[in-house]
Symmetry: C2
Subunit: 447 residues, 2 copies
């Protein structure tokens, strides 16, 4: 179906009229249109923007991803760009300007009307991943001494230019946030009622420096459709809407998922070979260092292995299982720590449980392995050693799988990135050490 | 701060009046209150619910998690429960009843008024993770031939009992969905305008059988604040609001993250030891089976290792690095596939890139390893073999890391669960095979 649309769009670009184009654009959602043109070359994109109405161009710029947005902007002169900005939300304009090269950004900002210029320059000061960086300045605020009827006039006037009107913010004369009103309550209240008397005085809000992850947690916890951003003096600076919060949630989760797998969050299937090497190789080299640690542990026991070669085949089972069990523990902890820190005193019970779990799982896996190893290598003691080593290494995996993420979090670092490295180092090195060490002790029974 | 609140709450429960309690409840958000009482025993929870006003009890039940909700319900008799239900959204009631034991569920449903009973029984039929299972029946629908003024009367009347009014749905006489109106447009239109003339005819909607993950994708892609659920004949059955969609997104991501680590999505830090063993042990036993496969591969080369014991220390580096590099590829693929399937023809370019990446990363890591192994074991050929084996195994890791998730997705299974198992089986078995195989071939140069 998308292919049909691409064919039709190409026809219109080559032979169609502005009306044909307009009709086509109206028949699809802006984000789907953005996807259709994402693979076009610069020349074709230039033709597309020439055919587009200004407000359609604005909606396209709002929905396109960062890369496409820059490519589209590249085909526009500054005048056209400013016209499109006139239809766009300030947070989207700031997002876009943030990706511009410095020269063009300054050029465009200087051409803005002074009011807009001030707002945009102020917004550009906030870090991209802070509340200030994702807020919009288009919201409805009402003074507490307005009546319901007067408020509705304000909403009629400003509403169409804002994103969310379901929650209205109430301010005092100094523009400080003093409450919020649900539009449903407002609509069903008598027309002469004062806003101050129907407002909810307790409003959950954030400061512009608040991390976007914290913002997402609040919105999701309290089921908000927007959250106001206020200064230290509670002057309202902007609001963050729930659709932007969803983007934040998706982005933060993607980070955790990719980082646990040892990949940068910037990487995708389309990343170039050169970039991928640059992003993935350092992680592999760190892992290589830990692999050498494990390898040298084995080297320590070369004389033991020389006497019983079978050990070399069996030792990989013990170390591997430690890594698997430890990854389970790390996954649970990383997920839990993403919701917030754990106090040391709350760690005791789950930590002891993980250790018990390591013992039970180790005993079961060790017994299964031992029962297979015993007849295969025709040696009871080899089976017994595997059984004991497996319990030992799964205890190690519980210990490190639990403590490593907790400690990394206490150090204000990201548990998703580094936990697995430390974990597998521990389970490999200690896994080999426990198994081969036991084998050295039991050597008289093995040869 | 939370500790202070707990102390104060306990005081009120033991010595305070209903007024004190009411004042306390009003001073906190329902979800924070739910967290405060989560650790209380049944007796104290009973005291709390006795002190609570009916509408507060309803808001608490809406915000409490599944476990607490059931514990609270346990302290209530059916009459009180039905009174609380009177203040609650239908989707929350259904959620709650779904967790009841069958006997009590039937009891409560039979006590409902016949209208409510019909709605609830219908909603209970949908799977918990489908659009039907998460939709609410409280929404505003308008007939197309109403005027703006008449519509506002409807909104005033029904609005306060619904969750979202920012988008209003327009239906024809047969209750079929024919469009939607943005409340902002409605408010700023002349009072005699017909709804039909300001509605947007194209509405994105889903059927009750649609999977919740699909629902979340649509809401997030098109920045909706609600999405209507319609029957095959486009009769509107309910709506899904954005706050429920956020819950779905969080839940689905948690699933992927935990499953990639080999943990069930139901598990958390508080899961009992017995339950944790039941959920984690099967995964470990599957891994144990693949560990045996790798171990038997090593066993095949016992005579080779007996000649050059150093091989046993070095082989673990090659197999381990394959696993690490493959996990990177799998992470990228799992993330990409969560957004939707990839067509085979779109696979070619990224697949070739992954292979090239495996070659480059393999060559670099192999060279580093070789350069260290050569002087440590005083044998150039041993270094050369490691170099070649590393390239080979990182090619294997690219091959399997890419194809395994894609194939699992084509089979309509979840790539997050099983990909790593197949991947590490391949990188372990083939990693050992390639390295020890090369060593056998080069044996004259090694001894």
């Amino acid at each position: 179906m998308d292919d049909e649309k691409t064919v039709r769009l190409n026809e219109i670009i080559d032979h169609g009229s502005i009306e044909d184009f307009h009709q086509f654009y109206d028949s699809v959602e802006p984000i789907d249109f953005a996807q259709l043109i994402a693979d076009f070359d610069e020349e074709t994109i230039d033709k597309v923007t020439t055919l587009m109405a200004d407000d359609d161009l604005a909606s396209l710029l709002e929905e396109a991803d960062d890369g496409l947005r820059i490519r589209i902007a590249y085909t526009l002169n500054n005048e056209r760009l400013l016209i499109a900005f006139g239809y766009m939300q300030k947070d989207d304009i700031v997002d876009m300007l943030g990706d511009f090269e410095v020269g063009r950004r300054k050029e465009v900002i200087n051409l803005m009307r002074s009011g807009d210029r001030k707002i945009i320059t102020d917004l550009l000061k906030y870090p991209e991943e802070s509340a200030g960086g994702i807020m919009t300045t288009a919201y409805v605020s009402l003074k507490a001494n307005l009546t319901v009827s007067q408020s509705l006039d304000v909403i009629r006037e400003i509403g169409p230019r804002t994103e969310v009107i379901e929650t209205l913010y109430v301010v005092n004369d100094a523009k400080r946030l003093i409450g919020s009103v649900d539009l449903k309550i407002l609509l069903s209240s008598p027309r002469t009622t004062m806003i101050g008397s129907i407002m909810e005085p307790h409003v959950i809000c954030v400061e512009p420096e608040t991390d976007q992850e914290e913002v997402a947690k609040l919105v999701s916890r309290y089921d908000l459709n927007a959250i106001p951003v206020v200064s230290k003096k509670r002057v309202i600076l902007g609001i963050i809407t729930v659709d932007d919060v969803i983007d934040v949630i998706v982005q933060e989760y993607d980070e955790d998922l990719l980082q646990m797998g040892g990949v940068s969050r910037e990487e995708s299937l389309d990343t170039t070979l050169h970039e991928s090497v640059r992003m993935r190789l350092p992680w592999l080299l760190i892992n290589l260092a830990t692999a050498f640690l494990a390898s040298f542990t084995v080297k320590l026991f070369e004389s033991t292995i020389a006497k019983v070669v079978a050990l070399s085949a069996i030792m990989t089972i013990v170390s591997g299982m430690g890594g698997n069990a430890g990854t389970q523990t790390v996954s649970i902890l990383v997920r839990r720590l993403a919701q917030g820190d754990i106090a040391w005193e709350d760690c005791r019970k789950p930590f002891l449980k993980e250790l018990a779990l390591g013992f039970v799982d180790g005993a079961v896996c060790g017994a299964v392995t031992g029962v297979i190893v015993w007849p295969v290598y025709k040696n009871f003691y080899l089976g017994l050693i595997v059984f004991l080593a497996m319990i030992g290494n799964l205890l190690v995996s519980s210990l490190f799988g639990f403590l490593v993420p907790v400690i990394i979090k206490k150090l204000h670092w990201d548990p998703a990135i580094a936990s697995t490295i430390f974990l597998t180092t521990a389970t490999d090195v200690l896994g080999f050490f426990i198994f081969l060490g036991l084998a050295s002790l039991f050597m008289p029974f093995l040869v």
